[in-house]
């Protein structure tokens, strides 16, 4: 069930909120949490009931490992912990990466050895990372091993189980007592959540889909476009990805808020970043934090000295893994490496205290790296990506605009898409992030009008059957 569907917006979410609030009136001690757990299981099983077994299996396995790790001594404890990490990574690899690895080992390619292509369970990349973090937190004794009920509720919580934000157990588990309390979220919280949800919905349904129209056209016309168009369509895809994923995250955060749970923010106006380091502090924040804490730092600390060279190696390795996390393809690895190289240059520049780059130049360079890397992210194959990139530097046709004038199709929708694209670009580059707007929310008539307009406008787009699925559902 997608957040941008009538079933979710008009039926599932209101019904869950109603049931959770009713459960709060019951004398049963943890009835609201039980409601949420059952709703989450239904939500997850809705698209592919067979995949529920994988989610539940992963939950039970990680819960058992955490319990097992709990009372033992340091030596066996560490072994159990490492076993848990290996188990999670194997689980992820089994579904996403085994055939990718096989296809890159010449001997195996020669002998055509392949496992059957398993359809990977929805959200596997997200809920596996969440559980790896859980095991680390348990191992480092930041949290005690939780009950199966708590652990299952934490991992399967429907607002984030499929596409994040990737939650940390300590931030979620401690909210369960309040969730089970008899008081429902205040009107202030509900109003803020409604405001945020409406912004997320319009970002996804109108803005992301408008940029998707341009990006799809561009990537389908890659052989015949000018250099300028190549950069334009790559930037369009970057904006599509931003509005798509940040819109999803806004709806996830808002849905959780309506139930009385705060989950971490995922975006903070990344297209206003003046450097690539800043970009990663603002883009997919929960993944960035995972990369920094659980990939970059352990790799760096494995060296005796934290030199610039070692830091560069750690950055490149961490970003290559982060790229691969998105999917079993070299295009994702290259995407990660491009960002890695840009981060290394940025780190070097800062460490060596080289002359400051003017803000405008820093912004242009950052956006150029983001757009360039996204060509690899969007391309179906490495060969396609290389072809696209060569068009981006095709000085024989630098400023052609034939594709730009055709990208939005024909008829009345051209104007609708164009307005959405212009508004989206301005908001991404100069507007406040929706999360910031929601945090500073005050109930005014203007906000009310905006919420009604965003929600109804988005519902009209949804009902016009032109909406597309979330990009990150594929990961």
């Amino acid at each position: 069930m997608s957040f941008n569907s009538f079933k979710y917006i008009l039926l599932f979410l209101p019904l869950v909120i109603l049931l959770v609030n009713l459960a709060r009136k019951l004398p049963l001690p943890r009835a609201p949490q039980l409601c949420i757990l059952l709703a989450s299981i239904y939500f997850y099983a809705y698209a592919q009931p067979a995949h529920l077994a994988y989610l539940l299996g992963s939950i039970i396995a990680n819960w058992l490992i955490a319990r097992w790790m709990g009372p033992t001594e340091e030596g066996p404890r560490k072994r159990i912990f490492l076993f848990g990490i290996v188990l999670n990574v194997t689980f992820l690899c089994l579904f996403k990466y085994v055939n990718f690895f096989f296809s890159n080992i010449p001997y195996l390619v020669h002998h055509h050895i392949q496992l059957p292509n398993l359809q990977f369970p929805l959200g596997i990349s997200f809920f596996t990372l969440a559980q790896i973090m859980y095991l680390i937190e348990c191992y480092e004794e930041m949290i005690p091993p939780s009950s199966l009920f708590d652990h299952a509720t934490f991992v399967s919580f429907f607002p984030y189980v499929i596409s994040g934000p990737i939650p940390r157990a300590d931030r979620i588990l401690h909210q369960f007592p309040a969730l089970n309390a008899r008081t429902s979220p205040s009107a202030d919280v509900i109003a803020r959540a409604l405001y945020l949800f409406s912004m997320g919905l319009i970002k996804k349904v109108v803005l992301a889909d408008a940029f998707s129209k341009a990006a799809d056209y561009g990537f389908n016309s890659a052989k015949n476009m000018s250099a300028m168009e190549g950069w334009f369509f790559a930037a369009s895809y970057a904006l599509q990805l931003y509005f798509d994923f940040s819109g999803y995250s806004d709806m996830a955060i808002a849905s959780a808020l309506m139930l009385g749970v705060e989950i971490p923010r995922n975006f903070d106006a990344p297209f206003q970043s003046l450097s690539i380091i800043e970009f990663w502090q603002r883009w997919h924040i929960t993944l960035s934090q995972f990369i920094t804490t659980y990939l970059y730092t352990p790799i760096l600390t494995s060296f005796k000295r934290a030199t610039l060279r070692n830091a560069s190696f750690a950055t490149l390795t961490a970003m290559a893994i982060a790229g691969l996390w998105h999917g079993p393809s070299w295009t994702f690895v290259i995407f990660g490496l491009i960002h890695g190289v840009a981060l290394v240059i940025n780190q070097y520049w800062k460490k060596k205290k080289m002359s400051a780059v003017p803000d405008a130049v820093g912004w242009v360079l950052t956006m150029a790296v983001v757009a360039f890397a996204n060509v690899f992210f969007r391309s179906p194959t490495l060969h396609f990506a290389v072809g696209y990139v060569s068009q981006m530097f095709n000085w024989h046709n630098a400023f052609g605009t034939a594709n730009l004038s055709a990208m939005n199709g024909a008829g009345l929708m051209v104007g609708v898409y164009l307005i959405a694209q212009v508004v989206g670009a301005v908001l991404a580059v100069a507007g406040k992030s929706s999360e910031t707007l929601a945090r500073n929310f005050t109930p005014t008539a203007l906000n009310a009008a905006a919420t009604v307009a965003f929600t109804l406008g988005a519902l009209i787009f949804l009902n016009s059957s032109i909406s597309k699925p979330f990009v990150y559902f594929a990961f």
Partner: protein, 298 residues
């Protein structure tokens, strides 16, 4: 303002806007899905695919007893002059037969038909991709959607006697944009003549459904501009023969045959290799108006 008042305000405002929307949709009802469509004259204004899909739910079966089923090359044909039949033109831009079937199925779910004029042309059966509005269209779009509002806005403009662009006739025939003719004289890619198994099966299913609802079938092979046709004559003939073998037997009016060669050689009848000018379409209309009763009487 308190947050509670704010929430009540947005709930009330949303309810009011939705009620207004529903009231306008009911009163104007451009697709004939909310009120009795009998005797009304509803036109396709925007997004012909979705409009014809929605019009086919009630308006077409309530007011017409025969259908033209084809791609854009037959979109501007008007066969209302054929005596004894009330023909609605279900042709849509870029249609393949799977898309056409989804439209025709709407009409067949409630109506009976006397005659179905089915275009036999390679693009109808070369693929089965459903796109551009027909992939996920639903009746709910008649309650509130972008194309509904455009239809409503154009109805208002038309009522005010303001220019509104190209509208279809109530029988679905849609005038094509009269642009300077452009002929791309090339040999078509072999994929153009590919017989997609899914599309062919849909074609056969659609004909079966039409017949089970009382419709007699007449195939029409549309006229291709002669210089284009000459370049692709062999492949076209192969296609026609294959289709005649595969599809259930029924009368065929072959505008690709020798009787119609003079028409096909006259560039003034064409906008491009496939689409007819208004004057070309009128000539085809006249010819078919004579030929169809003859075909049916044989």
């Amino acid at each position: 303002m308190t947050s509670r008042t704010w929430i009540l305000q947005i709930a009330a405002a949303s309810a009011i806007v939705l009620c207004l929307n529903m009231a306008v949709a009911y009163c104007m009802d451009p697709y004939g899905v909310m009120r009795d469509p009998r005797g009304r004259e509803l036109r396709v204004i925007f997004s012909g695919r979705k409009a014809k899909f929605l019009l086919s739910k009630h308006y077409v079966p309530a007011n017409y007893d025969s259908l033209i089923i084809g791609p854009s090359s037959s979109e501007n044909w008007d066969l209302t002059a054929i005596p004894g039949f009330k023909i609605y033109n279900e042709s849509i831009l870029g249609a393949n037969v799977v898309e056409e079937k989804s439209i025709v199925d709407q009409a067949l779910s409630v109506g009976h038909f006397k005659l179905a004029l089915c275009i036999m042309y390679p693009t109808m059966t070369s693929n089965h991709v459903i796109n551009d509005g027909l992939d996920s269209v639903s009746s709910a779009e008649a309650l509130g959607s972008i194309h509904l509002y455009v239809h409503e806005a154009v109805q208002v403009l038309a009522a005010l006697h303001l220019p509104v662009g190209r509208l279809s006739a109530p029988d679905g025939a849609t005038p094509l944009k009269q642009v300077p003719a452009y002929f791309s004289l090339v040999q078509f890619d072999p994929s153009y003549f590919h017989l997609d198994p899914v599309a062919v099966e849909s074609y056969i299913d659609m004909l079966g459904s039409l017949r089970s609802r009382g419709a007699r079938i007449v195939y029409i092979i549309p006229p291709l501009y002669e210089p284009c046709r000459a370049l692709n004559a062999v492949a076209l003939n192969d296609y026609k023969q294959s289709m005649q073998r595969i599809l259930p037997a029924a009368p065929i009016i072959d505008l690709d045959g020798p009787d119609f060669a003079n028409f096909r050689s006259d560039a003034s009848n064409y906008l491009d290799c496939f689409h007819l000018t208004t004057s070309g379409a009128i000539k085809v209309d006249k010819y078919l108006t004579q030929q169809i009763p003859i075909s049916l009487s044989n």
